[in-house]
């Protein structure tokens, strides 16, 4: 039987952390969770590759972490509340990584929020995002 794609997959620019992604991203997210401890943050900063080797993550997931590919991590099963711990290790806030994930500068993104945020009009369905 072919699985029907869930309705939420039509929402553009959005990754819903469902069962499939939770299973795919378990070790990636648990790596991020480990950064809650100061000694782990130190060890990670000292040698990122060696630290990541402790976790049975895919090479693609490790690459996304090393390159700080924030959207890539979500695509590979990362969850924002976990990847934000990696961001905090780098001294970045939620708003800093949000700007990066939207392809804006910090100034552009902060200005958009001050002006009322991203309007839902034109952002509800992938059909509206043909503009790429």
């Amino acid at each position: 039987m072919e699985a029907k794609e869930p309705e939420y997959e039509d929402i553009p620019g959005t990754t819903v952390f469902d069962a499939k992604r939770s299973r795919q991203g378990y070790h990636l997210n648990m790596f991020c969770m480990s950064l809650m401890k100061a000694e782990n943050r130190e060890a990670f900063k000292r040698d990122e590759k060696a630290y990541l080797a402790q976790y049975p993550m895919t090479e693609e997931q490790k690459k996304a972490v090393l390159e700080r590919d924030w959207n890539g991590m979500l695509r590979l099963g990362g969850n924002i509340y976990y990847t934000s711990k990696l961001a905090a290790t780098d001294g970045l806030t939620f708003q800093n990584i949000a700007a990066i994930m939207t392809g804006s500068t910090q100034e552009q993104y902060a200005k958009m929020m001050l002006e009322g945020g991203r309007n839902p009009a034109g952002n509800r369905s992938k059909k509206e995002w043909k503009r790429g």
């Binding site: 929402i11 469902d18 648990m30 509340y81 009322g116 945020g117 991203r118 839902p120």
Partner: protein
């Protein structure tokens, strides 16, 4: 007998906690937000609850992907402040109310809500930011707090309808507790916001305004909002609004709206706040 006198809904944005802790409440960016909570603080002082039941979500602080309880009720004597990666917030330890918490646990389980009982749990900004907004910066929190932690990170969270019905079960539990206690219930999180991906920064003022109207006057209509609609209209993290429905379910149908505040932005988020009193 114990009774629920009022409900409070409020966003729990971590940046609000950071602004309080770093003394930035008078910065031009933050001043309008904190001004909006001045009346609420005064209201809370006068309401003088004996216990707060605080519905919130943990943000990968106490729980990780190892254990994901849908509803977890804190029954401990006290709850330490979580270190979310940059040291715990400099706020008082949260004292619990084990007598009422255990009574609620037993009552709602027999009422067919099979929640998880937690005796050891650190609490993060999801719980402490709402307390700071309503209580300011005291040396001790003014009353015991019973944390009710809801999963809204792993999809799917509980439905809005289930949350509303849990609120009603909590109401029955509180009503059947023998000690005379004045209880205020908080529903936190929301309003519209999206923290992740190319659509981050989504804010839907029309959705939020309708949600606030119906929270006061027609909460059952809100129980019919499905998960996809929340994500599409209020953003991937806007789905936290289901937690407000636990609070609302615990109040009278005709509870009276006595205060409302709405402000954009706090970091990535639309901040919404309402106080409702039972008549």
């Amino acid at each position: 007998m114990a009774r629920i006198i009022a409900g409070v809904s409020t966003s729990h944005v971590p940046a609000i906690g950071a602004a309080i802790d770093r003394g930035r409440m008078q910065d031009p960016y933050w001043q309008p937000l904190f001004k909006g909570y001045e009346r609420s603080k005064e209201w809370f002082r006068q309401a003088k609850p004996d216990v707060v039941i605080l519905v919130y979500n943990d943000h990968a602080s106490a729980f990780s992907l190892e254990i994901i309880p849908t509803f977890a009720l804190g029954c401990a004597e006290e709850f330490p402040i979580a270190d979310e990666g940059w040291g715990p917030r400099p706020v008082p330890v949260v004292k619990g109310h084990p007598d009422l918490a255990w009574h609620i646990a037993q009552s709602v389980i027999l009422d067919e809500f099979d929640l998880t009982i937690v005796n050891k749990m650190a609490v993060d900004h999801g719980l402490t930011v709402p307390l700071s907004l309503l209580c300011g910066q005291p040396k001790e929190w003014p009353c015991p707090v019973i944390p009710l932690c809801v999963n809204v990170i792993q999809y799917p969270p509980p439905t809005g309808h289930r949350c509303y019905m849990l609120g009603k079960a909590i109401r029955r539990a509180v009503d059947s507790f023998e000690q005379d206690l004045r209880v205020v219930i908080f529903g936190t999180g929301g309003m519209s916001h999206q923290l992740q991906g190319p659509r981050a920064g989504l804010i839907n003022k029309e959705f939020d305004a309708r949600f606030l109207d119906k929270l006061a006057n027609d909460p059952e209509a809100l129980t019919r909002i499905g998960h996809v609609e929340y994500v599409r209209e209020a953003g991937s993290e806007g789905i936290e609004l289901v937690m407000w429905l636990i609070m609302r379910g615990a109040l009278d149908q005709d509870a009276k709206e006595i205060y409302r505040f709405y402000h954009v932005p706090a970091s990535n988020t639309a901040v919404g706040h309402m106080i409702l009193e039972n008549r």
